[in-house]
Amino acid sequence: MNREFILEKLGRNLKNSTPGKRESNALERIRNAPGGILPVQPRTATARVAHFIEKAKEAQATVAVCASSGVANAIAEWLRSHNLPKEVRTGQDNRLSALHKAKDSILTVKQGPSDGSDLTGVSHAECGISETGTLALLSGADNPTSLNFLPENHIVVVRRSDILAHYEEIWPRLRKRFGKGKMPRTVNLITGPSRSADIEQTLLLGAHGPVRLHIIVTED
């Protein structure tokens, strides 16, 4: 069997320790999950949010800030400014309820995963990371993964209070919510819109994923 063959060979070549010792080493590190080296980040929440916005823009995203009740209007306005139809697709996330209840005159909202025909998808992020202007999105009926990649335009809403400093702060949150060692099926860390530099090293936005990424930070 390949499995036993490989594991035995590894064990043979790791001759300075016993299998039992290696197992306890591994389990101990997983239990402790040391954080490592964390780059210095702004201390106050206000500075952290400002840094997040600056970094997201550096990564070619656009950013708007509004009250959570104003999300539908903020989306409609952004679509108008890009000459896009006022129609979006979204999941069942309760945090987007203001959007789900939006009047048709402002915005047409369709629910469920994308089949590739939607121009604009709207998701709600689990959190943002100020370090690099990164968004963390979780899969599921609330925020179908296909919305992150198929529509040409991706709008992501994130709560101001969910903007963290480091990636390392995401994982304890997920452990608390899903249980130790458990994860949602997919976690997408997204930093700016899709891009490629494969043709003569020229950076172009909108390779296979969204051409535009618009972030709406909500004040709560």
Binding site: N2, R3, F5, I6, L7, K9, L10, G11, N13, L14, N16, P19, R22, E23, N25, A26, R29, I30, A33, G35, G36, I37, P39, K55, A59, P113, E131, T132, S139, G140, A141, P144, T145, S146, N148, F149, L150, Y167, E168, W171, M183, R185, T186, V187, N188, L189, T191, S194, R195, S196, A197, D198, I199, E200, Q201, L204, G206, A207, H208, G209
Partner: protein
């Protein structure tokens, strides 16, 4: 894949004479080096993070069997399957099996060097399954019937005119007078064509940058989003990854991730870092029904416990080739197998045998830039030297080189004579150097100077200068 590493010298010669390739290689020299330097300088903790990244990987390697078993059991509890492949052939067979069971006719693929290593595309084609590369660079070289010439920029050797010609040749259903003058229009064309392929594919195959033991999670890091469409839309997702990709925890992954993008493209963070833990869950509106991880050994376990163990820390960032004067001069294809540059010079003899790949570790100036920039602090020059020693002791070095080395050894063992000889040589080279201190002519080494200049010495030997600086009789032995 057809191996041409034994003809390294001829390959290099052809590459040096290839004007189009030489033009393309200037992109590597210019872009990658600057961008990485800026990204490294902008993060004060960068050097400390490199140390920690290397320490994490060392810890993993010392406990690798335990971590693999923990990873496996967590993938299974997430509802996925783990397949172990000792050899490239085992991996190909396992993947074909999964594809056949899924009734697959087309397979979309995210970028994966492991897939190149095991020669997966050709194998699937021969079995009647069409593999479609979806990373733009990989797509371009697949159309051209080529292999990647760089591990993160696979089509870096191709220019825009060539891409345009290839698209015209292959995308025959599109109007011949369509707009193709800008890179943007070519990208749009590829996006449109591949969209259709993503939606129709039966199986999606991706690689993995990390395997997280703690959660049974596989991770891909990309910029285009092709890997995500590859793994989200088809019914079956297959991850192919080598055993050393393991990290203990999500925190450990985050630490290494910080040095990965900065070292590779000079980005602070790649656009998409995607963590996958098993197949579609109850209530999930999308995602694959099946999730398979194929764990490939293919000789890596043989490196554990040897002088080559350090190489298993490699995260395939490409920084070593981006900073390598040899790679800058000849590009990736001349190396003759899957992995080019300094990391390839260490890995190739391991994977295809020192008798076939032994010339690569000799193609080094030992300038040490690769080790300086390697985020995982892999002592690449030292590892190349290990191969040279093995090659020499295995009598695989070409006869002329053996004669010269023997003559040098004979001389080096006779200090008096050695000093006289080196003094004479240094003096002679100084005379050759003239005013700009470089020479394009070396006695007995015409081939060496044809494409490079030898900086000439300052006219006296190191020993003589040492004595002068330390006062007479300095002990330099």
């Amino acid at each position: 894949m057809h191996i041409t590493s034994p003809q390294f010298k001829q390959n290099a010669k052809a590459a040096l004479a290839d004007e189009q390739l030489q033009r393309s290689l200037t992109h590597v020299r210019k872009n990658f080096i600057d961008k990485r330097a800026k990204a490294a300088a902008a993060l004060p903790e960068f050097e400390a993070l490199r140390d920690n990244a290397a320490a994490i990987k060392n810890h993993v390697l010392e406990n690798l069997d335990a971590y693999l078993e923990i990873f496996e059991s967590n993938v299974i509890s997430n509802g996925g399957k783990v397949h172990w492949a000792a050899t490239a052939g085992d991996a190909r067979g396992l993947i074909l099996d999964i594809c056949r069971k899924a009734g697959a006719r087309t397979v979309t693929k995210g970028k994966s060097m492991i897939s190149e290593e095991i020669g997966l595309n050709e194998f699937l084609e021969n079995a009647g399954i069409e593999p479609v590369e979806t990373d733009l660079g990989e797509y371009i070289i697949q159309l051209r019937g080529e292999s990647p010439s760089h591990i993160i920029a696979p089509a870096v050797h191709v220019n825009m005119d060539q891409v345009r010609d290839d698209f015209r040749r292959v995308h025959t259903h599109l109007p011949p007078d369509r707009e193709m003058s800008e890179p943007e229009s070519l990208l749009k064309e590829a996006r449109g064509i591949l969209r259709d392929r993503f939606i129709k594919a039966d199986v999606g195959i991706t690689g993995a940058n990390f395997l997280v033991a703690e959660t049974g999670t596989t991770i891909i890091v990309t910029n285009e989003g092709n890997g995500d469409l590859t793994q989200t839309l088809p019914r079956v997702h297959v991850v192919i990854a080598s055993i050393e990709k393991i990290v203990p925890t999500l925190e450990d992954m985050s630490q290494i991730m910080r040095v990965l993008a900065r070292s590779a493209t000079g980005q602070e963070m790649s656009v998409y870092t995607t963590l996958s833990s098993g197949p579609r869950r109850k209530g999930d509106p999308d995602g694959p029904d099946e999730f398979h991880v194929v764990l490939l050994d293919n000789g890596r376990s043989d490196m554990l416990g040897t002088e080559f163990q350090d190489m298993l820390r490699c995260i395939r960032c490409g920084a070593c080739m981006n900073h390598c004067p040899v790679y800058h001069a000849i590009g990736g294809h001349a190396y003759g197998w899957v992995y080019p540059g300094p990391m390839g010079s260490v890995l190739t003899p391991q994977f295809i045998g020192v008798e076939k790949g032994g010339q690569l570790p000799n193609a080094s100036t030992f300038c040490g830039r690769c080790e300086e920039v390697c985020p995982m602090r892999i002592p690449l020059p030292k590892l190349m030297r290990h191969w040279r020693e093995q090659e020499f002791s295995g009598h695989l070095t070409p006869p002329a080189q053996r004669r010269n080395l023997k003559a040098w050894a004979w001389l080096a063992k006779r200090p008096k004579l050695y000093h006289v000889a080196t003094r004479l040589a240094a003096r002679g080279l100084w005379l050759l150097g003239g005013r700009n201190r470089r020479t394009g002519f070396l006695p007995f080494a015409g081939a060496w100077t044809r494409h490079r200049d030898m900086p000439t010495p300052e006219g006296s030997t190191f020993l003589a200068q040492w004595r002068k600086h330390t006062g007479a009789g300095g002990n330099a032995s």
